[in-house]
C-alpha cells in the first residue's frame, strides 16, 4: 500500500512518466490505483517528433506494468514522512 499511498498524494500534480518503450509523457496525474495504473491529463510527449501519434492525445490511461519511471518534483515528496511510512510498513509486515 505504500506506493499506492504515495502516488495518491501526487494526484493533481504534474509528473513525467517514462514508459518501458521509452516514451516519456508529462501530464497531470488524475488518479492511481493499487496496480499503479495511472491516469494522466493534459499530456505532452517529450519527444513528439518521434511519437507523432501522441500529439493529439490529451489524456491517457497507462497500465502500471508498463511504467519504467515516474519523475517527480523534489518538493512533492516529504522524504522524512516517506521514511516513516516505509518503516511502518516494514513494522506491520514483521508483526
Amino acid at each position: 500500500m505504500l506506493f499506492f499511498s504515495f502516488f495518491k498524494t501526487l494526484v493533481d500534480q504534474e509528473v513525467t512518466v517514462e514508459l518501458k518503450n521509452d516514451i516519456e509523457l508529462k501530464g497531470t496525474l488524475k488518479s492511481v490505483d493499487q496496480f499503479l495504473n495511472l491516469k494522466l491529463d493534459n499530456i505532452s510527449c517529450s519527444n513528439e517528433s518521434k511519437y507523432p501519434h501522441l500529439s493529439s492525445v490529451r489524456n491517457i490511461f497507462i497500465r502500471g506494468s508498463t511504467v519504467r519511471y515516474v519523475y517527480l518534483n523534489k518538493n512533492m515528496v516529504d522524504t522524512n514522512l516517506l521514511q516513516d511510512a516505509a518503516r511502518r510498513e516494514a513494522m506491520s509486515a514483521r508483526k
Binding site: F4, F35, D84, S92
Partner: protein, 868 residues
Amino acid sequence: MSFFGFDSSLPNQGKGGGREKRTATPDKPLDFDETYQGLGEYQNEEDDYLNNETFGNATDLGTDFDFGYGKGELSSNSAPSAAQVDHGRSYASAATTGPVVTNPGYVAAAPHSMDEGMDFTPMESLWTNQPMMMQHPQQPQHPQVLSMEELERQQQQQQIGVPHGQQQGYMGMPPMPPMGYGYAPQAFMPQAQVMPGAAYPSAPQGMPPQGLPLPPQGMPPQSMPPPGMVPPQYQQHAMAMQQQPGAHQQAVQQVPSVVSPLAQQELQQSPHLVPKAALPASAGVVSDFATPSPPHLAASKSASGQARLASPSQMAPSSQDSRESTPRGTRRGSMRKHQEPLSQDDFKRLQVRQAKVDKILRHSGVMTPRDKDFITRYQLSQIVTDDPYNEDFYFQVYKIIQRGGIVGESNKGLIARAYLEHSGHRLGGRYKRADVALQRMQSQVEKAVTVAKERPQKNRENFDGAKEGVLGKISSAKNSKAPRRQLQIPQQRDEDEDLGTSAIEDVVESLNGVDISSSSRARRRSSYAFRSVDQRAVLSRSGGRKFVLSLIETVYAEVLDLEALLRSGKETDSTHLWESLHIADDAYEVSPFISILSFDKGVKIMPRIFNFLNKEQKLKLLYCFFSELSHLNIIVTSSYKTNPDPSDSQLKKIELFQSVFLKIIVSFLSSSAEFLEVLGLLLALVKNNNVSFISTSKIGLNLVTVLISRAALIKQDVSRGSVLSSVEASSWNEIYDKLFTALETKLAAVFPPEEYTSKVVATSSNGTPTSATVGQSSGHQFYDQSYIWQFLASLALSGKLNHQRVIIDEIREEIFGTISRAEQLVKNVPVEEQQIALYQRDKLYQDLNLFLNVMGLVARDGEISELK
C-alpha cells in the same frame, strides 16, 4: 378468400387466372376497353420494326404464357419473349407516362371501384399480349438515347413507381407513412426471408412479424390474415420482378443489392428496434436472397423467368455492379423526401455508429446491478482500509501536513469520487443524478471497508487468500511474496568480520591504554583518545556500526508505535523507548546513544524522542550526552583541530545537528531545567571532557555557551523570587572555576585559524550555504564568528573581574585584529562593493561588541571606548 376481389389463390394458373379475377369483381365486370388506355391504338408507334429484334419473332400474338412454375425451368424460346412482354410494358409506363403521371388517375379512382383502377394495365400486360403493341414506340428509343445506367435507373423508378400506384389503387388506404412505403417492395422481401424480426421497421402498419415469413413459404396469399399490407406488397414485388425481363438481368438483380443498405438504414432509423438484427440481416441479404426467393416469387405469381434469377451464381457477381449503378441520392430523393439525402460518408458513419451501438449492447444486461455492486465492492476493497493511519500512512499524514493540520474531505469520500470517475458513471447515468451516483459509490466504499477488514491480513496466516489481487491478476505475485533470497554469505565470513572488528578494537584499546576490564563507570573519557573523523573507533566501542544502526531502527519503531498510540488518544509508555536508547547501558565503553547521534537519522529522530520522555529521562539523556561529548562524532567533525578540511557534507551535518539537537537542548534548558540541573550538566561536561578540545569545535563551543549562559541567566533572574542559596552559589563558583581553569591559556584557541575559516567559506559557497557563514550575497560570504563572541561574552558575564581580565589578555590580539579587519574592509574597497564592505564591517563590530559590552566597553570606528 378474395382480396379486394383479387384472387391470387392460383399462382400457377397462368395469365388466365389474372383475368378471371378481374372479371370476377362483384361490383362491375371489368371491361378491357375501360382499363386499357388505348395507347396501342392512339400513340404513334414507330420503330415497330425493331420489335422482332428486341423480342424475337418466334412468338405469335395471342400466345399464352405460363409465368409460374407450372412448367418448370424456363427453357423454351417463348419464355424470354414473355418476360419481354411485360417488361416492354414497364418501359412504356416508365418512359412515356412515367409512374407519376400514371398515378393520379389511379389514386383518385381506386378507392371507389375497381373499374376505375386504370393502373391495372400493367397487370393486364402480364396476362394479355396487348401491351406489346404499345411498348413498340418506346422500345427503340432506349438503345439510341439511353445508356445502360440510365436504363437501369428507369427500371428502378418504374419498379418503385408502379407498385406505388397499385398499392393505393388496391388498398384504398390513406397514404402510408413514406418511410416504410417507398422502399417496402425492395426491403420487404429479403428481410422477411432472412430475418423476420428485422423486418418490422419496414412495415409501419404494424404487421405481425410472424406473418411475414409465411407467405413465401408457399402459403396462398389469399389466405393471408387481414394485415392487408402484405399481399399488395408481395404483389408489388411480384410485379416488380415480372417487369424485369430475363434479358435484363442486372435490373432484377439489383433488388438484393438495393435491399441490403436499405435494410440497414431502416434499422438505423429505428435503432431501438432490435439493433442486433441489423448486421446479420444486412450481411446475409445478398447471399440469402437467392435461395428463398423462388418460393416467394412463385407464391406471388412470379413469372417463370424469375426462376433463373434465383440461381445464386448470377446474383452474387452482378449485385455489386448494380449497386454502383444505383445512385443513392436519386432513390432517396424520390422516395424519402422527408429525409435529407444521405451521402456515402453519412451512410458509412451511420454504419459505424450502428456497429458501435451494437457492440455496446451486445453484452448489456449480462450483469445485474447487484453483480456490479459486488464487483465494485471487491475492487474497492483493495484500495480502502479501515485503518488509514496504518496502511495509508503516507497519504493521510501528508494531506494533514499539506493542509496545515486541517483534515479535508474524508478519505472515503475522495475514493468514492475518484472511483466514480473511473467507472464512467460520474454523470449519474441516464437520469443525470450525479449526487445519487456519488452517494451510491460512497456506500459502496463503506461496504468495501468491511470487506477489506475481512480480508486476510497479508503476511499472516492466509497468504493466498481468495481475494488476493481481487479481480485483477498480480502477475508477479509469486515474486513479491517470496522473493529470491539474497546471496547467502557463509557463516564463516561473519566470524572473520568479528575477528576483524575485535582486532581493531584491540588496537584502539592498546593504543589508548584503556583498561578493558574496568567497568564502564570507570570508562576513561579522554577526549584525546578519539580525535579522528573516522567514527569507526568510536562506533566499535559502542557495539559496532551495525549494532548502532539497528538501534536507531528500533528507536524509530518505538517512536512510531508511540505516535500511533498518541494519535488514537491512548496512554503512552516510554519505558521501551528509553530502553532502546541504551543511555544507562554500561555494557559498552561509549554509550550507544552517543553513537546514535553519529548518524543523521539518529539526530533527526531526537525531537520526536523528546516528545515522549519525561523530565527525568531527558535529564539523564543530557547528562549522558554532556558526559561523553568528546566521543560525539559531530564534535570531532566540527573541530578545526581534528578536521581542518571540512567537506560540504560535514558542514551540512553540523548544520543539521545545530538546527535539531542544539535547539532541543536550548528549549529544554530554558523551559524546564532548574539551576542545579544546569550546573549538573555543566559539571558533567567539565569533569569528563577535555574542555579546551571541545571549545575548538563550533558545536562544542555552542554547547558550553548554552550551559553557562543559561546558568548565568537563572542566577541573575531576580524575578524568580528565590535568591540562590549559598550552596548553589558556591557550587556554581566552583564549577565555573573548573571550567575557567580548563580553558585558561587556551582561550585564543577558540578562534579557528585563517585557513580553516577560508576553507569553510569556500566549501559552503560552493555547496549549500550554511549558517557557518554570513553575507549579503552568495559571492561575499565570510566566516561567522558570532558564536565565538557569544561564548566569550557569556563566559565573561559569569566570571568575576579577574576572569574578565584573563579573557581580554588572552584574546586581545583577536579583538584588535577584528577591529583592524573591520576598518581595513572599508578602506581598500571599490565604490561598487562599498555596501557589502560596510555590512561586513558592521557585522564584525556587532559581534565584537557582544563581548565588549559585557565589560562596559564598545568598539566603534576603530577604537574601543567605554559604553555610555
